[in-house]
Each structure stands twice: as C-alpha cells, then as structure tokens.
C-alpha cells in the first residue's frame, strides 16, 4: 500500500521531481566519469613515466571527489527538503486521515530509495558511456594511439560512486524522517496559505546599502588587483569576506530597488505584461536573495577555476611544442674536496669508466655554466631598488648565470636557433620568463656596461634573446648572460652539461636509448653517493651530483600536469554549474506551479499566449542572469588577481580560455535555463479541468 502510494506520488509530482532526478543523474555520471579516468588512462598509457602521472591524477581526483561529494550532498539535501516542503498539504491530508508519522516517513523513505536507485542506475549507465568518450580525450592528451582500446568499466570508480551516493541518500532519508517527526498538523494545513505580502523595503535604506556595498566591493577589487603588492594572507581573507558580504547586500538592495526603478518609468512599467512580470519577479526576489548570493559566488569560483585551468593548460601545451629542442640533457654539478674524484669534464670521467653516454647520441654539445658572484641587483644597477619595489616575487640577490659565447652558439646550432655575435668585450642576455624579460629589456634599453670577472663589458643588444639553454626550461629561464670565451675563468664553473639528440624518431628506440643512458647515470650516481657516505666517514667532503632529463619525461610530465589541471578545472566547474543550475531551476519551477492560477486568469482576460511565454522567458532569464552578471564582474577582477599571482603560468591568449569557459557555462548553465524555461512554459500551459 505504502509502496503504491509512493510510486503514485513520484509519478504525480514528476514535474517537480524531473529537475531533481535529472540533476542526480548528471551528478552520479560526472562522479563516475572523473573517478574512472585513472583506470581509463592506465589502459592507454604504457610508459612508466606517464604511468606515474596517471597515478598522481587518480589520487588528486579522489581527494577532490570528497569535496565534490560534499557539494553534491548539500545540493541533494537542499533539493529534497525543498521538494518536501512543497508537499506539506499532502502530508496534512495523510495525517488527517489518521496516518502515523512513522508511516509518512516510510513513504518518504520508499520514495527516496526509488529515486536513489533509479538515478544511481541510470547515472552509472550514462557515466560508463561518457567515460568511453573521456578515454578518447585522455588518449588525445597523452598522445597515445587508440587502436588497443577496449570498452572498459572501472569497478573501483563504480564502487566509490555507489558508496558515496548511498551515504548521501541515507543522509537525505535521515533528514527527511527527522523533519517529519517535527511536523505539526496545524502548520501543515496552513502552509498553503502563502502570505503574498511584498515586503517593500525602505528605498532610502536600499540605496544606502547599495552604495555601501558597491563601495566595499570596489575596495576589495582594488585590494586584490591594483594594490596587489600590499596583499597579505590576512588582508586576503578580509577581501574574500568583504566580497561575500557585499554580494549579499547588493542582491538585497537591488531586490528592493528594481521595482521602484522600473515603476518610475511609466512607459515601460505599464507596457504589455511588464507590470505582471515585474511583480512576479519582485514577489520572489526577496526569498531568493540568499540563494542568489550562493549561486553568484559559486559561479564566480567556477569561472575563475575554469579559465585559469584552461589557460594554464594552453600555456603548458604551447610550451611543450616549443620547448625541448633536443632529446636529452645530462647535468653534472660537482665540487670535490676529494682529490681522487676530480675530473676535468664529464667526457673524461666517462672515459675512465670505459664508456661514454654520447655513444647513443647522433649529435651533442658540452657546455658549462659559470657564476662570478654578481647578482640580478648588480645587473639592474641604479634601477635595482625601483624594480625590487615593483616585482616583489623575484629574488634580486640571485646570482647570475654566465655562459661562454662559443658554448652558446654550439647549443643554438643544435637547437636550430639564432646565434649570437659578440665583438670583443661585449655581452648579451638570453631569457624567456615573461616578467623577468620585462625587467631585463628595460635595463638593456639603456645599454649599460656590466662588470663580470673583473672585465667591463659593453652591451651588444638592447633586448634579450628569447630562449633558454636547458632543454627543460619551459619559458622559465630567468636569464643567462653570454660573454666572450676569454672573459671567464674556468674554475668558476658551477655546472657542466651535455645536451644531445638521438638519430631516431621511433618511439620505441627513443625509449630504449633513454633507458640505456638513465641506467648508466644511475650507476654513476650510486657510486658517488656510496663514496660520499664513506667519504663522510673519513672526514672528507664530497658533493657531486649527476642527473639526466629526457624529452620523453619532460613532455610526459607537462602533459600529465596539463591533464591534471584540465580535469580538475572541468570536474569542479561542472559540478558547481550543475549545483547552481539545479537550485535556480527548482525554485523557478516551483514558482511557476504556484503562479499557475495567475496565468489562467491572464488567459481568461484574453492575454496572448506569446505574451505569457514572453513573460515567463523574462522571469526565468532574470533569475538566471542576475547572479551570472555579478559573478562575471567578480571574475573580471578575480582573473586579474590570478594573472598577477600566477605570472608566467598562464597562457598569453586569455581569450581562448575565456571563450572555452563561456562555452562550458553556456552549455550547462544555459542548458538548465532552457529546460527551466520549457518546463515552466509547459506547467503554465496546463489548463486543468475545462470548467464543467
């Protein structure tokens, strides 16, 4: 009996539940898809270095999933409570008929169970389907081929999804049962008599609050952008708090003002259904202030996360293409007090061991980096103080790297890039880290002399060369000074490196070569650390290190990083957007159900169907747009803050990421808007019971 009643209830209130159900399905499928990514990626990826990245991705996603689960749980509890409130009259009827609260709880639990199992089932099916698409995306990211691909179902992701959602539904059941025990019959009966009192706010107060809120917001905007240099963690919290409070106040005051403003323009207010539309909005906006604030803030976070992540991804992907002009770089940093250990060069050391890493390379260059103790501040000269004020993130006591002209030109020949020509006592600078390049270019514009190794050098170019000497640089070269060969003193070398290219493009061969080189380096490294340990025992000090980076690793690392960032952005972004869309949609739809008699009345006095549709469109549009507009304004400043704070990591072409972000928002948020509009129209079109 109870079961039957529950089924009928769901079927009857299907228009209320449709959005809820729809949201649950998206929630479940998104949850599954992202948790299954690890498994999917592992299928495609074979390389060990790539596999590590996949593992990292999996663990990062499962951590974020907990956060996502909390957001979804809040949404589900909110939505189910909201739907329950709408049915107070129904419960009153049951109670009047003598049904116990236990039985009402029973009905609710059965309903939740059915909806839960239904949404979980369908959601997982959709999720499994979507995750196959996701695999193609992952394969594309890792540049893997899809030929070996098979249809996969990730069991762990499935179990995780089921457990998380089971917990959420259990929470909902508990909450609902608890709410039932607290219901009073008299309140339930009267819950339908809505007092349609439009709480009119004092206009002067509203205007005052608006001005104060706008000023507060302006101050916070100023604080995180223009006044960025004075930002401390404490102030950051202040600005965030200020942002939240002012967002609320702005909605509060606007909801009080909107009617008055439009009302004062009689031509607009009394045109067509505008009077009705505006009153509809203002009668609900009061109760929407709080949820609009939440939605606005969530949209703000979404916009910033999405565009930042996409931007970082774009910049990473771009640098992958640009960087890594060679296959491998072996680096040797050594200083030894142990006489036995000293070798003039890497080549020599290898010769002692009987083999040479360059055996596997088709071409290679040896180069050294020197330091003479002069710093970035010395380079800036008179302007050091000024720059230090302006660019607080940089260490100006950083010792400058120096390279010989001949080494540099050999390298550039290998990389296929522009060489440098220095005449006698000249110097040049190579740099590719955006902000540092700005500083250096400003200095070089004045063509100052520079003293290195006690030699005064003249400036050869009034600009930096854009580039780097290491293969792993990734637009992070803060600057290397190129000097004539005879200027440097050999004992100032701090690092020696070999950069090499292989003679093959075949992935398999490259992998083999990488392994051979790495094995030898590891052997050497172990040998040294053993010596270091025994050396320490004997009271001598050895500090030598050797390391090796291959293009394969660098690319995998950056791709992986790019993949992780992309997925995180999408994951959080999509879940937040769903939550926002669902909350507004639920509120709007229930509002439409409540307003049904009004629309019927409008029809009776002969209002055109198209005018009614227009009015619904305006109402829905405004509720979806208001939080979005403020969120966009927030984001403009938020993104400015992000781009200052994450200098160099973001892509220069912010427009691409903004377009993609807008596209995602349009798709999901706009989708919710469309569904809400269409179902509202359908609800309102119903003309129940031709009058008999």
């Amino acid at each position: 009996m109870l079961f039957k009643l529950s089924i009928r209830n769901i079927r009857r209130s299907v228009r209320d539940y449709a959005i809820y159900f729809f949201t649950l399905i998206i929630g479940v499928s998104i949850f599954y898809v992202f948790n299954a990514i690890g498994g999917q990626a592992a299928m495609i990826v074979i390389d060990e270095s790539e596999y590590n990245i996949v593992e990292l991705l999996t663990s990062v996603i499962s951590v974020i999933s907990v956060f996502v689960a909390v957001v979804l749980a809040l949404l589900i509890v909110y939505a189910s409570r909201f739907l329950m409130k709408r049915r107070h009259r129904e419960y009153a009827l049951y109670m009047m008929l003598g049904m116990s609260k236990g039985k009402i709880s029973g009905i609710l639990i059965t309903e939740t169970l059915m909806i839960g199992i239904g949404s979980l089932g369908i959601g997982l099916l959709v999720g499994v389907g979507l995750s196959q698409l996701m695999s193609a995306f992952v394969a594309n990211l890792f540049d893997a081929d899809m030929t070996a691909y098979e249809f996969t179902v990730s069991e762990s992701a499935m179990v995780m999804t089921i457990i998380f959602f089971a917990i959420m539904y259990l929470l909902v059941m508990l909450f609902n049962s608890f709410a039932v025990t607290k219901m009073k019959l008299i309140d339930l009966i009267h819950s339908g008599d809505k007092s349609e009192r439009v709480a009119l706010r004092n206009p002067v107060l509203s205007i005052l609050v608006f001005i104060v809120a706008a000023a507060g917001l302006g101050y916070a905007y100023y604080g995180v952008t223009t006044d960025f240099t004075n930002l401390s963690v404490k102030r950051m919290y202040l600005y965030i708090g200020l942002g939240i409070v002012t967002t609320f106040l702005i909605f509060w005051s606007i909801s009080g003002l909107i009617l008055r403003i439009v009302k004062s323009v009689k031509k607009v207010y009394y045109k067509g259904l505008n009077t009705f539309t505006l009153r509809q909005i203002s009668s609900r906006v009061n109760t929407m202030v709080f949820s609009m604030t939440i939605i606005c803030l969530m949209l703000f976070v979404t916009i910033c996360t999405l565009s930042t992540c996409i931007s970082i991804r774009n910049s990473l992907n771009k640098s992958i293409k640009e960087a890594c002009a060679a296959d491998v770089e072996i680096e040797f940093r050594g200083m030894s007090l142990n006489e036995e250990m000293v070798c003039e060069s890497l080549d020599e050391y290898y010769a002692v061991k009987g083999y040479n890493p360059t055996d596997f390379m088709s071409s290679h260059v040896n180069y050294k980096v020197y330091k003479d103790g002069s710093t970035l501040a010395d380079f800036c000269g008179d302007r050091a103080k000024e720059f230090e004020e302006q660019y607080r993130v940089f260490m100006f006591s950083f010792e400058e790297n120096i390279i010989k002209q001949s080494d540099y030109n050999k390298l550039m020949e290998l990389y296929g890039k522009e060489k440098v020509t220095l005449h006698g006592d000249e110097y040049a600078v190579v740099c590719d880290f955006n902000r540092m390049q700005e500083i250096r270019d400003q200095v070089l514009a004045g063509k100052p002399d520079l003293t290195l190794f006690d030699t005064t050098l003249h400036c050869a170019y009034d600009k930096c060369f854009i580039g780097a000497i290491d293969i792993w640089s990734n637009n992070s070269n803060v600057g290397v000074i190129i000097v004539p060969d005879d200027v440097v003193s050999e004992d100032a070398a701090v690092k020696e490196a070999i950069v090499g290219k292989y003679d093959t493009d075949d992935k398999e061969k490259i992998r083999e070569t990488n392994k051979k080189i790495k094995d030898r380096i590891e052997e050497l490294s172990n040998e040294w650390s053993n010596k270091l340990l025994s050396g320490q025992a004997e009271g001598t000090y050895v500090s030598n290190s050797i390391s090796c980076e291959t293009r394969t690793e660098i690319v995998a690392e950056q791709m992986g990083l790019s993949a992780i960032i992309t997925f995180l952005g999408l994951y959080i972004g999509i879940v937040f957007l769903i939550a926002c869309g669902a909350i507004i949609a639920l509120k709007e739809l229930s509002g439409s159900v409540d307003s049904l008699p009004r629309y019927q009345m409008l029809r009776k006095i002969g209002v055109e169907e198209s005018s009614i549709t227009g009015s619904i469109f305006k109402q829905t549009g405004i509720f979806f747009l208001m939080p979005l507009i403020l969120a966009i304004v927030h984001s403009v400043f938020g993104m400015k803050f992000v781009s200052i704070g994450m200098e160099g990591m973001l892509s220069d072409e912010m427009w691409t990421s903004i377009f993609i972000t807008a596209g995602i928002i349009l798709l999901i948020y706009g989708g919710y808007f469309l569904i809400t509009f269409i179902s509202s129209k359908r609800i309102v079109r119903e003309m129940p019971g031709k009058t008999e």
Binding site: E196, R598, R603, K604, K690
Partner: protein, 254 residues
C-alpha cells in the same frame, strides 16, 4: 439593437455510454444596453452557458453571435483578441492578481490591449471614482475586503469598454452589504454608462437588480420574466414565484 444572439446551442459531456447534456438547445438574445440575469439551480447549465459565450469552453453544436460575429468559429489568436476586446469578466472568486495593486490590476487590462499609457491614468481614476474604490487603488488584494476586491475586478472588466460584461456569481463570496453595493454599481453602470451586463446567479436578490431574468432548468430554457416598470421589490417577489415553481435546489440556496 441585438448584441448577443445564442442559437440552439448544445454542450455535451462524457461519452456515448454516459452522456450529460449540460446545455440542451438553448436560444435567446440580448440587446445592447441590457442587464440580464440567468438563474437556475446547480447543474442547470448556467455556468456552462456562460463559459461557452465567453469562449472559455466550446459548444457541441449551435452558434453564438456577438456583434454579428460567430464566436464559435474563432480560433487561437482571434479568440484571445475577441476575449480581450469585446468581453469583460467578473468572477465569483474575484481573480485579481495577488502580486499587483488594485491600480495595476486595472491597468493590466488596458496595457494588454496596448492602450496609450499616458491616457491610462485618467481612465482608471475615472472608473475608480464611479465604483467608489478611488481610496484603495494602491492597496494589494490581501489588504482589501471582499466587496472592494469585487469592485476592483468590476473596474478591470469595464475599463476597456467591452461590448459585453459577463459576471459569474459576482456576489457569491460577498456579504449582503457588499453584495448590495456591488449590484447597485451594476445598475448604475447599466443605466448611466449603457453597459451591457449578463450575470449568472442563483441568488434571487441579485437577480432582482437585472432588467430581465432568464431561468434555466436541466440545460433548457424554463421561462423568462421582464422587470419593466415594476419596483425592485415587486420584481423580486415575481422571481421568487418562478423559483418556487422551479423547485429543488434554488429554494435551498435561498
């Protein structure tokens, strides 16, 4: 001049096995400037008749002409335009929009007809004064009494100067004092402004304000009486007599 002409209309509900003839071959006509009441017991078909005339419902057969236009042939947009421009409605439960003030409720009827906004104010104030609701125009429906609400609804119905005002049990939810006040306003509108009013009621007192009363029984015309030069009291007694003849529910309702 003949404004409304109802010709042999029928309205059936249900299917072949259980057919209900809500309206069973009714014909009558209403002249311009008339105030007609339609009386009958519950289930006599008076509300169905009103719904058919107001195009809210469709007839099964027969024709209804308003201003020489066959309203049973109207469809879609033309139907809405007809309702908007030719008819004014007054309902038992007022049907005011609870989110709008009295003034806005009245202005809405004008703005959906795309009437000039500048002229609107004068028209509304004028009609409000005539109905004695000038003071409450800025109140919301929940702040008004039943009688005030019904007079606002009445103002909304006539502000557009419709050809025909249809009132469905307008006093049904009012106390006797408010009823009397409203009905006196109806008479005033009819006499002084020449409004054509068709009122459905089962209350003999309300009907006695009309110039003519048509009685329905089981979906058919039963009889018709005209007030002529009789006083309202005399007319009322006459109505009571017919109602007694009709028997049944109406006497219960009294």
């Amino acid at each position: 001049m003949e404004l409304l002409k109802v010709e042999h209309i029928e309205k059936y509900y249900g299917n072949k096995s259980s057919l209900t003839k809500a309206v069973d071959d009714i014909s009558f006509s209403v002249d311009e400037g008339e105030f007609v009441a339609i009386m009958g017991a519950s289930g006599s078909g008076k509300t169905t008749l009103l719904n058919c005339i107001s195009t809210i419902d469709r007839v099964t057969s027969g024709h209804i002409y308003l201003d020489n236009e066959d309203v049973t042939k109207l469809k879609g947009k033309a139907l809405n335009r007809f309702r908007r421009e030719k008819l004014g409605f007054i309902f038992q439960d007022f049907n005011l929009l609870d989110t709008l003030t009295g003034y806005e409720n009245i202005s809405l009827a004008l703005s959906i007809q795309k009437k000039s906004i500048s002229a609107m104010d004068g028209v509304i104030k004028d009609i409000a004064a005539k109905l004695g609701i000038g003071e409450i125009l800025n109140k919301y429906p929940y702040q008004m009494s039943g009688g005030e609400k019904q007079r606002v609804a009445c103002a909304r119905a006539i502000v557009t100067e419709p050809k025909l005002i249809l009132a469905d049990e307008p006093t049904g939810a009012l106390d006797s004092k408010s009823s009397k006040m409203l009905l006196e306003r109806f008479s005033y509108l009819n006499k002084e402004l020449g409004a054509t009013i068709m009122m459905v009621t089962h209350d003999s007192f309300s009907a006695s304000y009309a110039r003519r009363v048509i009685f329905l029984k089981d979906g058919k015309n039963f009889s018709e009486i005209i007030r002529g030069n009789k006083s309202r009291k005399q007319f009322f007694d006459e109505i009571i007599n017919v109602v007694t003849l009709l028997g049944g529910d109406v006497s219960d309702a009294l």
